[in-house]
Symmetry: C2
Subunit: 362 residues, 2 copies
């Protein structure tokens, strides 16, 4: 049995590519209670490979991906707030995606699934909120790709969204991050088991593992890889003089790659990685300033000192733009050595900033 | 017809792994003339995927990989110096490697080729010099993996080597660089055409292209990718909304990957990447200080300001160690935005430093 609820949206979703998706199913979980005024809902948006299970609950006691952040008495306090987290469109964790059966063909969509964007993902989240009877969001909070969703919320649903927390994210991937993403997608597509997305029993595990390993390296800081693994060998003190793995960092990455392919779908990875690469507020609106003109939410940008994939400068640029436009904005760089993944590791450092931001009056 | 000469070494080479290679063939090229005193020879060591064709000559007019550095009247002046460049052991550019036919089996070595190290590569170079009748080297010069070879020369053949120029290199790969290298090797090994190294007509092109693309990204600085490509699209101004490439950086990397697989052998890439990962002077000698104790050459370390794969700090550490031991040492950080590849792009910046170093009296 799955931990999440599912909702089939009552209206079709028109995508940025022009296609329309009927019968969109969304997997979601809720924590805490919606108050009578219905003004305490917080939407949490997950990163590339996340899911709706942001934290443990009585019904679903398994640890969530942000367990120390969200819960009763935690930084985002579910005694006070009604937290919603939904699996993004295109993913494989319960929401509609390329692994969904297309009712018209009785086959999985595979690569016939339309190319989706962060904006499309947020359209689905908005429709979910409406159908859950939520008239506005107290806050939207997201790290990494979740931060892009939070930005899109603040822009496209500006009246609906009171506070917006963007963590370790940017208004568009840097060209270097684009390049790494492209190589990862290419590894999947060129895996012979990929079969143009029509794999079944035999999955493109090798390609997906490579994509994950590349991603994983970019999520870690140079210092954190060095501190954790350095050049330590696996067991022996001497080299094997074989082409196999010798170093601990090698077996660690293998382990991460292998673990990932058991829990994530290659087609979903392709679609979400593509959505990441397409996200570009300046391109979409003409400039960052024009994109931000619509924002009425109070904004919090948090960057990570050692994050080289989504460097601080990108968050600063967004905060600066808001400031120049007299938007309500707060910026904070969290000092952490763990690179992009810091928000999953040193949760309290982020939690304290988020807590004081969301608890303060507007 | 090939541009290079070949020499079959008259003695077997005993490798660090314990194996012995008989009948080692070395591809090499010479530029300029050995003077009567035989004291004007400069050995140039190439990087991971390089070859012996460091520059053009009358006999081989094709442009070399360091054409602006080496030649008559150039920074390393072949009117004055006798320049030797040999293809490294394990490569596929004329020297013995996994693509060589094993005389005992009449088959290509493939993965039965022993795992080699930078020290083994230099053993072969030394034997070549001896057999060419060169009693000592005026200088040894190498960028990137060539810098590791230059270091090995200065340590293992200290009396033979008067000057040593180490460019954009280190005494061991950083754990992050190790990790990227491992993912590249893994992409090759997991390509179904790899067939445990026994490929023939059908080569593991996809895997090798991925390894190259990963490498290529790490050779460029963030700024150079941004300046050259940014987030520019290929032709149209709008996204394709397909899973194919949209961005110029994507087609560029594809092109680089495809071009590379036409000219380089996957097994050689594996062996040389492994040799890079094994190079670790502190491990081999107990500490960097102990490794450097034997050095009698005058040392020049050049780093690149925007090189994140072999960062300046690594060169500084080596220079500092030499300085603390009262070795003759010069250190220079070249300001360049092109990342690790700068030594191939802004050649004059490096050439000026190398020229004044090698032309000055000891």
């Amino acid at each position: 049995m799955s931990d999440y609820l599912t909702k089939q949206l009552s209206t079709p979703i028109t995508l940025q590519c022009g296609a329309t998706l009927d019968d969109v199913t969304v997997a979601y979980e809720c924590f805490g209670k919606l108050n009578e005024a219905k003004d305490n809902a917080i939407m949490i948006c997950h990163a590339l490979t996340g899911d709706s299970h942001v934290t443990e609950s009585v019904e679903a006691p398994k640890e969530g991906w942000w367990n120390d952040m969200v819960g009763p008495g935690k930084h985002i306090d579910t005694n006070k707030f009604y937290v919603i987290c939904s699996n993004v469109l295109g993913s494989c964790k319960g929401s509609m995606g390329p692994g969904t059966i297309n009712q018209k063909t009785s086959q999985k969509y595979g690569l016939s699934f339309p190319v989706i964007t962060v904006k499309d993902i947020v359209s689905v989240q908005y429709q979910l909120c409406i159908e859950l009877g939520i008239p506005s969001l107290y806050a939207v909070v997201g790290p990494s790709m979740g931060g892009m969703q939070a930005l899109e919320w603040a822009i496209s649903y500006s009246k609906y969204c009171k506070r917006c927390v963007v963590i370790a994210s940017s208004s568009s991937l840097s060209p270097q991050a684009l390049a790494f993403g492209m190589v990862g997608r290419n590894a999947i597509i060129s895996d012979r088991s990929f079969n143009e997305g029509n794999y079944d029993e035999e999955k493109p595990k090798q390609g997906l593992a490579i994509a994950r390993m590349i991603g994983h390296i970019t999520y870690l800081s140079k210092k954190s890889i060095t501190d954790k693994f350095g050049r330590k060998l696996q067991e022996k003190k001497e080299y094997n003089y074989e082409l196999d793995s010798d170093f601990q960092i090698e077996s660690y990455l293998h382990y991460q790659g292998d673990k990932f392919v058991e829990s994530f779908d290659a087609n979903s990875y392709l679609y979400l990685s593509k959505a990441l690469s397409y996200f570009d507020l300046s391109k979409e609106y003409g400039s960052l300033k024009k994109a931000f003109e619509k924002i009425s939410a109070s904004m919090l940008f948090i960057s990570i000192s050692s994050d080289w994939l989504y460097p601080t400068e990108q968050s600063k640029e967004m905060a600066r733009t808001c400031m120049n436009m007299n938007k309500k904005v707060t910026f904070c760089e969290v000092e952490s050595d763990y690179g992009h993944d810091s928000f999953l590791i040193e949760v309290d450092k982020f939690g304290e900033v988020i807590h004081s931001f969301i608890e303060r009056e507007l």
